[in-house]
Amino acid sequence: MESMLHITTLHYLVLGAALFLLGVIGVLTRRNVVIVLMSIELILNAVNLNLVAFSRMWGGLHGQVFAIFVITDAAAEAAVGLGILIAFFRNKETVNIDEVNLLKW
């Protein structure tokens, strides 16, 4: 009970791991590209949470700086991902990731 009421770094890490798992499940099982992209955002956020938690644990700010870089990366990823999605939708008129198989022979 004591450990439940005292929030340590581990608590944040477990939360991050749970989020990460949710993201992984989303990426691996969903068919809708939009939701897959959102699951990737979940994964990135789980990473961010860990980075910031470690930053607090060590008392330095490197973790926070890296979290900002990850957010930048997420923005770039979302822009390109959604661009691909639009191009894909225009060609196939679907958003199902199963049908992204043009390279398969």
Binding site: I86, F89, R90, E93
Partner: protein, 384 residues
């Protein structure tokens, strides 16, 4: 104009443009209850995002069968009905109808009546353009001009009210001339109105003509070429803004317009801004005509000799006048009885509305509103 000019070959109106995302064509039902369709016009818009791929007008929500009514009324009885077509320009409608029947009867209204008719019709043109300006600006988002134009239109309506007791559906003219002599002080009031109104046009222009947003919203919007105008039968300020100097007051003078000195303002680009400028200039020209007519108002009778029971000789006549919105024509076939055998109206709004599709293709939704405003349609006239 030659026949080669009267085709729309370069405009493929049958096949729609392909949308950006194929599955995503948006069909929007604009109207019949919509703040910017000036009544009960229904426009079915096919959109690609905001871009208009094509549109279709559905009319008839205000159809009252005016033409059919005309076949069941005597010539005199039908006169008030025409006021209800273009209720914004009731006097012009009346002038067109009276002159058509006068041609059929082969009589001509006396000079004084002609002068008064010109004065009232031109006042009506100003009133119609004022209403157009106010609502058009309101559609584009400028809410203030509406109140200014309505304030000034009120003065014209007051003159009407004093002259014939009605403000909107005036029934001002009779076949053969006028029923009432002008009231005392009529000339003075008209002159007062002219001096009052001249600075007001400048006021409207000050609000809009050089307004950056107004220019951006109207320049190169709803452009229509002179060829397309002619092919679609578009008349009035819309035609003149495309650069065609065609005004029935000069081209086929009626009433006694040939006695007055005025110009036909034209535009070059045929876009919404040019139509705006043309109508503003027309208001100034109307002021000029009224000034001349009032200054030279002759004395004399106001009614020609017309029989009490009108039985025009059998035959047909088409007569058209330049209404504020374009060519307003009446085609009457008489079989020698007291009622027309067939009566057909060529309303300017109805014909001009055809150009909406051509003008809106490839533009944005916001432009559709601007174009409907600039066509200056009155649904009472479109549906009759």
């Amino acid at each position: 104009m030659t026949d080669s000019n009267t085709s729309l070959s370069h405009l493929d109106l049958e096949t729609p443009e392909k949308p950006f995302l194929d599955a995503n064509e948006l069909v929007i039902n604009m109207g019949p209850q919509h703040p910017a369709t000036h009544g009960v016009l229904r426009v079915i818009l096919r959109l690609d995002g905001e871009k208009v791929l094509g549109l279709e007008c559905v009319i008839g929500y205000l159809h009252r069968g005016v033409e059919k009514i005309g076949e069941h009324r005597t010539y005199t009885m039908f006169n008030p009905y025409v006021d209800r077509m273009d209720y914004v320009a009731a006097v012009s409608n009346g002038l067109g109808y009276c002159e058509t029947v006068e041609r059929l009867l082969n009589v001509e209204a006396p000079p004084r009546a002609q002068h008064v008719r010109v004065i009232l019709t031109e006042l009506n043109r100003i009133a119609s353009h004022q209403l157009w300006l106010g609502t058009h600006a309101l559609d584009i988002g400028a809410i203030t001009p509406l109140f200014y134009t309505f304030r000034d239109r009120e003065e014209i309506l007051k003159i009407y009210e004093k002259y014939c007791g009605a403000r909107l559906t005036t029934h001002a003219f009779r076949i053969g001339g006028l029923q009432y002599e002008t009231y005392t002080g009529f000339e003075k009031e008209v002159k007062n109105f002219l001096t009052f109104f001249r600075p007001k046009i400048d006021e409207y222009e000050e609000l809009l003509t050089t307004n950056r947003i107004w220019v951006e919203r109207t320049k190169n919007v709803g452009t229509i070429s002179a060829e397309d105008c002619i092919a679609l039968g578009v008349t009035g300020p819309v035609l003149r803004a495309s650069g065609v100097k065609w005004d029935l007051r000069k081209a086929q003078p009626y009433a006694n317009y040939k006695n007055f000195d005025f110009e036909i303002p034209t535009g070059q680009n045929g876009d919404t801004y040019d139509r705006y400028l043309v109508r503003m200039a027309e208001m100034r020209q109307s002021v000029r005509i009224i000034q001349q007519a009032v200054d030279a108002l002759p004395e004399g009778p106001i009614m020609a000799k017309v029989p009490k029971v009108m039985k025009p000789p059998a035959g047909e006549v088409y007569h058209s006048i330049e209404a504020p919105k374009g060519e307003l024509g009446y085609f009457i076939v008489s079989d020698g009885s007291t009622q027309p055998y067939r009566l057909r109206v060529r309303p300017p709004s109805f014909v001009n509305l055809q150009a909406l599709d051509v003008m809106c293709r490839g533009q944005l939704v916001a432009d559709v509103v601007a174009v409907i405003g600039t066509l200056d349609i009155v649904l009472g006239e479109v549906d009759r």
